[in-house]
């Protein structure tokens, strides 16, 4: 069971994600630098947060053209679970793996604060251990985190059950308070908040269990496969 953490120039949550995957949940974890391919035997792919290419042009847009993205795309089509967090989510929408775009927050400021998520879809590889409507205390840290899609896309997302997480409150002006979405097949998930910052009780001032279930879901998913 191998999980790959993709590292782009400017990724800065890669080490945090690696620590959580490997030291907290004991996944066999490996870094992959953006200009190489991915092995076929990989079981899950994580795109961590950060400022790939310094957020030039638009967050995630340059990284979306990295050589490794075509491999991510191929493996995603085969049904391999893919999770993009923060900048990883931005890269997934910019590369067309997920619908919508992420715009500057309504405040026009970078926002770092603890928020609360509501689980809207618990059928994905990253949410299968969570309950519907379960609440997750979790931090956000982004400047371009306001989810936007046109009305038709938003309707389609709702109809296909592609909205995975919503914010409990209006946080940054996201359409329908969307914090995370998935593709139609449900195996590719993107979310703006940082689960890797919330799974250890030492640094989570509220409750670390709900966020842990995101990673435990992946354990269940991969266990079921093997």
């Amino acid at each position: 069971m191998k999980v790959g953490v993709v590292v782009f120039p400017g990724s800065n949550c890669d080490r945090d994600m690696y620590h959580v995957l490997s030291d907290v949940f004991h996944f066999d974890t490996q870094y992959f630098w953006h200009d190489k391919g991915l092995p076929k035997n990989i079981d899950a792919i994580i795109l961590p947060g950060g400022f790939s290419y310094g957020d030039r042009l638009r967050a995630g847009v340059i990284a979306a053209h990295s050589p490794i993205i075509s491999d991510v795309q191929k493996l995603a089509e085969k049904g391999i679970p893919v999770l993009g967090v923060c900048n990883g989510f931005q890269i997934l929408v910019e590369s067309g793996l997920l619908p919508g775009v992420l715009l500057k927050n309504e405040s026009l400021n970078f926002m770092c604060e603890w928020t609360e998520l509501i689980v809207e879809n618990n059928k994905t590889p990253f949410t299968n251990k969570l309950k519907l409507n379960q609440k997750i205390p979790i931090p956000i840290a982004n400047g371009e985190g306001r989810y936007y899609a046109d009305d038709d896309t938003l309707k389609k997302l709702k109809k296909n059950n592609q909205i995975v997480f919503r914010y409990s409150d209006v946080v940054n002006g996201s359409a329908n308070r969307i914090a995370g979405v998935c593709n139609e097949d449900g195996n590719v998930v993107g979310m703006m908040p940082h689960p890797e910052r919330a799974v250890e009780s030492e640094i989570n001032p509220i409750d670390s269990k709900p966020s842990s279930l995101i990673f435990e879901s992946l354990l269940v998913q991969m266990g079921a496969k093997n």
Binding site: N12, C13, H19, N109, F110, C112, R197
Partner: protein, 721 residues
């Protein structure tokens, strides 16, 4: 050109000839106050620099502490005042970049940033608001992109910073002791310039920073590129792990000139370099420009020819520039060539060691009458006054600032910003607590006691998290040292800090002096900024939510010390009075008692009592936990004072402890054992913050209303004026 006529004569006599124009540029940069510390250096030696945890190695720009288990913590503080005053975004951002590279130079990973910001009166002055808003954005954009959490700091506004800005940035690093760079060089080693390209930005920056601010020379301000800096960090840490670096220095003030001459002087070597080999942004740059450009995101590395190939491979991976610009020689000369033509050839020690000055000092005349108090105008409604006070820019919550900083990245932040000190977890199971504090209002009234107060306050803050202070960073910011009265305030502050450091056994592990902080309107108030690092072996005190029935205990005496207080200055518009002083014996006793109590895990939180006095400290506790409190001012230990003085005195060495009722007798027992002055002064509950005196309520506020004002006022002020 900023060489004084006598300095030029001195240079001529030292080298026995007329210097070339390149030599003049190099020497002028290195002999500037900013790079040479010529006015302050001989006095700085009084600070204690050694201690059981301090690792002293040559050539480090940061202090190094051995924190056990094979790990070290590094720390440094820098400022970028002049640049930030003309171009706050770029000035503040490159301030972050510079101090981060100092931490990197030792071979450690930067893990936290702290910023101390000071501006003019933002209530009245649009320019001050603009400076504030953009300096915060500069720090946020730079630090966030690097993935280094900005976890603490302070913001203060005072008329003395009108048309000016103090932007101080401290950085803490962490790494393995065995991976520290041991600066050395062998014959035949090569000198490599790594990172961003050299352009025409920041030319003359160090001289610009060594004069009073009269012209807005924006071209002297450096241009930030945090993306390149992030790549440099990862490339250098990879090179460090592969042991490819013999010696390393960041390029800061004075650019290549200073980096090359300082590394040559420290390692007792010579360096021969060719400016043609430097990767530049423009191709028609003169050698003089290349030597003194302060373009950012550059590092100078000495390595062997064999290791160079591996280093180049790492740089290719990260796609960053890596030019071999010269080689190590053993004639102790800095030899700058362009192709075969020599442009400068000087002894490294001449360049790197400006003649130190012993400037005259004189007690300022204003201090003669400063302690005289004027008659204060009576206040009819203290509740109303208190609401105004909670929205004062210096008292209001700084959440608008720190919520723009990613303070979680790196997943080490155990105690988040917004309280006393912030706490990071370390890989050896211990915790590091850090706080920076300044107080120019008190330092103006009494430079010695004010500086000691900043030091003690920073100690109190880390103590409130359960940490024992183990190291100090000082950043001494003053006006022109050529003014004997200003120089006297500098010396007084320094002596005060030295006495406290020696008495408490807290070594100074790093520091910086920034002089000439002046505008045509005059000098800033003395602004020493003190950072304290504390270590927690077992468990930090993470403040718990206060609930109904919890008790409030104050430790330490409240005295008639309102000089420089927010109450005098913001409410009564009066500068003067008695500056709070620290009684070392009392301070130590209180510190030890609080640390013991925290280690026994019998309190819910400990909070420092400082700016705004007891009234603000209690309100902060209430607002953060959304609960009321009934405080009896008659019970507060200390001098017999009128109630407004009890409420707003800023006496040091005081702590507010919150404790469950069932633990109160245990707590009192320990406090008695330490023979400290303390009292149980109140109980939490209800929805009102109430201060009572002689059975009469003197302040009565709804906590939700107070909270709304306190949390939003700074943001509203910045956005809407």
């Amino acid at each position: 050109m900023s060489l004084e006529p006598q300095e030029l004569d001195e240079l001529k006599s030292k080298i026995g000839r007329v210097p070339t124009s390149t030599e003049l540029e190099i020497v002028a940069a290195q002999w500037s106050e900013h790079c040479s510390y010529k006015s302050s250096k001989m006095h700085l030696k009084m600070l204690p620099m050694t201690g059981p945890l301090v690792i002293n190695e040559k050539g480090y720009d940061s202090g190094v502490l051995d924190v056990g288990g094979g790990y070290v913590v590094t720390a440094h503080i820098e400022s970028h005042n002049h640049p930030s005053a003309v171009e706050p975004y770029g000035g503040a951002a490159t301030g972050v970049g510079g101090v981060v590279r100092d931490i990197l130079s030792a071979g450690t990973r930067p893990i936290a940033i702290f910023d101390g910001l000071r501006f003019g009166n933002i209530e009245k002055d649009k320019q001050a608001r603009w400076l504030f808003k953009n300096a915060v954005k500069g720090i946020a954009d730079y630090g966030n992109c690097l993935g280094i959490p900005t976890i603490g700091g302070e913001v203060e506004f005072d008329d003395c910073y009108q048309n000016y800005a103090l932007v101080d940035v401290a950085c803490v690093g962490f790494g393995r002791k065995d991976k520290l760079i041991k600066n050395h060089a062998k014959k035949g080693d090569v000198v490599v310039l790594l990172g961003g390209s050299t352009g025409r930005d920041g030319i003359g920056g160090s001289q610009f920073a060594s004069d009073s601010l009269e012209s807005e020379d924006r071209s002297a301000v450096q241009i930030p590129d945090p993306f390149i800096e992030k790549l440099i960090i990862e490339a250098i840490l990879e090179a460090r792990t592969q042991k490819l670096i013999h010696a390393m220095k960041d390029l800061g003030g004075g650019g290549l000139s200073c980096a090359v001459s300082e590394i040559a002087d420290t390692l007792d070597i010579g360096i021969e370099m060719d400016v043609n080999k430097v990767h530049t942004r423009e191709n028609d740059m003169h050698p003089n420009e290349i030597m003194v450009s302060e373009s950012q995101e550059r590092m100078l590395i000495v390595t062997s020819k064999v290791k160079l190939k591996k280093l180049q491979k790492i740089c290719e991976k990260f796609r960053i520039g890596c030019s071999v610009i010269g080689s190590v020689t053993f004639d102790n000369k800095v030899h700058v060539k362009k192709g075969n033509k020599t442009f400068a050839n000087l002894s490294a020690d001449i360049i790197a060691n400006a003649t130190l000055l012993d400037l005259p000092s004189k007690k300022p005349s204003y201090l003669k009458t400063i302690t005289h108090e004027k008659k204060l105008k009576p206040i009819t409604d203290y509740s109303k006054m208190m609401m105004k006070f909670l929205s004062a820019p210096n008292i209001a919550s700084k959440i608008w600032v720190y919520s723009q900083y990613d303070h979680e990245v790196g997943i080490r932040t155990v105690v988040k910003p917004g309280g006393d000190a912030s706490v990071l977890r370390l890989d050896n199971g211990k915790f590091l607590s850090v706080k920076i504090d300044g107080n120019p209002k008190q330092c103006y009234i009494n430079p010695r006691e004010g500086a000691i107060g900043c030091f003690e306050e920073a100690c109190r803050n880390v103590v409130c998290t359960g940490a024992k202070p183990v190291g100090m960073l000082d950043h001494l910011q003053f006006g022109s040292p050529k003014d004997p009265e200003i120089f006297w305030t500098f010396l007084e502050s320094l002596k005060g800090l030295t006495d406290f450091a020696k008495d408490f056994g807290i070594p100074c592990i790093g520091g910086k002096v920034s002089l000439y902080n002046e505008t045509p309107a005059g000098s800033i108030k003395p602004t020493p900024l003190i950072g304290v690092l504390g270590l927690i072996d077992k468990k930090p005190l993470v403040p718990q939510k206060i609930i109904d029935g919890d008790c409030l205990v104050i430790v330490g005496d409240t005295k008639d010390e309102l000089g420089g207080s927010e109450y005098f200055e913001y409410i009564h518009k009066f500068i003067g009075g008695n500056c709070p002083t620290v009684n070392f014996k009392e301070s130590k006793k209180n510190m030890n008692a609080v640390l013991d109590i925290i280690s026994k895990q019998i309190i819910k939180s400990a909070h420092d009592c400082s700016k705004g006095g007891l009234a603000v400290a209690v309100s902060e506790l209430c607002m953060t936990s959304n609960i009321g409190c009934n405080v009896s001012l008659d019970m507060v230990p200390g001098e017999k004072l009128s109630f407004d003085r009890i409420l707003f005195s800023e006496s040091h060495s005081r702590y507010l402890l919150t404790v469950e009722k069932k633990n109160i007798s245990k707590l009192e027992k320990i406090l008695k054992k330490y023979k400290v002055s303390f009292k149980n002064i109140g109980e939490f509950g209800g929805e009102k913050i109430r201060f009572n005196h002689n059975n009469t309520s003197v302040i009565n506020l709804r906590v939700d209303k107070a909270h709304k004002t306190w949390i939003n006022s700074l943001r509203d002020l910045v956005l809407h004026g």
